[in-house]
Amino acid sequence: MDLSILNTIAAFVLFGITIAFIIVSWILNYHWGRYEISVSRTFSIRKIYFIISGIMLLIILLLFFNLKQ
């Protein structure tokens, strides 16, 4: 199988999930900020969400660079 096609698809997928992550984060932040009652809890939720998402994106990025090797 031609690996360059898979690499191109992987690059597009990476770009797509990054855009999806930005849009989803923006919408969720809006909802948490507007509709949650406790400000401190909103802060904790945001922190947990961004830590988990950050770790997952980092793993995906490392795996993406691993494809080229």
Partner: protein, 183 residues
């Protein structure tokens, strides 16, 4: 943010019971671990399929983690819908906030003066074991019935509603007596 009236205090904020949410989350967990189970399973497959898995393992893990990340984003949206669903009981009214999805939200409220009857319904084995159920509030007006779904400890919530209704009734009775006395 919830806007309260003057002299209004929040008595109880109650979210839906966690059990229906956990049960609905099971597919997310299954889909997330599926790629890894498939990879482990591939080791006992015939050699030609095992070779494909081994040769493209980099790609397999990359796309598996992408899938898990997408599942995570869908799950967090799903959790937000659960988390922002709540009832708020204040000393003046009951607010039922239903987050249907990210772009659809339903907020309804009923004042204690309008409440005529409160009914609890606990149906099924799991609601009985884990003590959650629906609360039906019948209003005096021609409004439709007010339904609070999957509320944990509905008897406690019903007691709070009854006590607050009683308090408001006593206050309005005293006020009426005071006005009649002055006249």
């Amino acid at each position: 943010m919830i806007t309260l009236f003057k002299d209004e205090e929040i008595i109880l904020i109650q979210r839906k019971h966690w059990l229906p949410f956990v049960l609905e989350s099971v597919p997310f967990i299954i889909i997330s671990i599926l790629p890894f189970m498939l990879f482990a399973f591939s080791q006992i497959l015939p050699l030609n399929i095992k070779i494909i898995f081994d040769n493209y393992s980099n790609y397999y893990f990359f796309f598996s983690f992408v899938l898990i990340f997408i599942i995570w984003l869908i799950f967090i949206v799903f959790w937000t819908n659960y988390y922002l669903d709540m009832i708020i009981i204040t000393n003046k009214r009951i607010m039922d906030i239903e987050q249907i999805n990210l772009f659809s939200r339903d907020e309804a409220e009923i004042r204690f003066e309008k409440i005529q009857d409160v009914k609890i319904e606990i149906n099924g084995v799991l609601p009985s074991l884990f003590k959650f159920g629906d609360i039906y509030i019948q209003s005096a007006a021609e409004m439709e019935e007010f339904i609070l779904k999957d509320i944990p400890d509905p008897y406690k919530v019903k007691d709070i509603i009854a006590a607050q209704k009683e308090k408001i009734f006593d206050e309005s009775k005293k006020l009426a007596e005071l006005v009649n006395g002055n006249v």
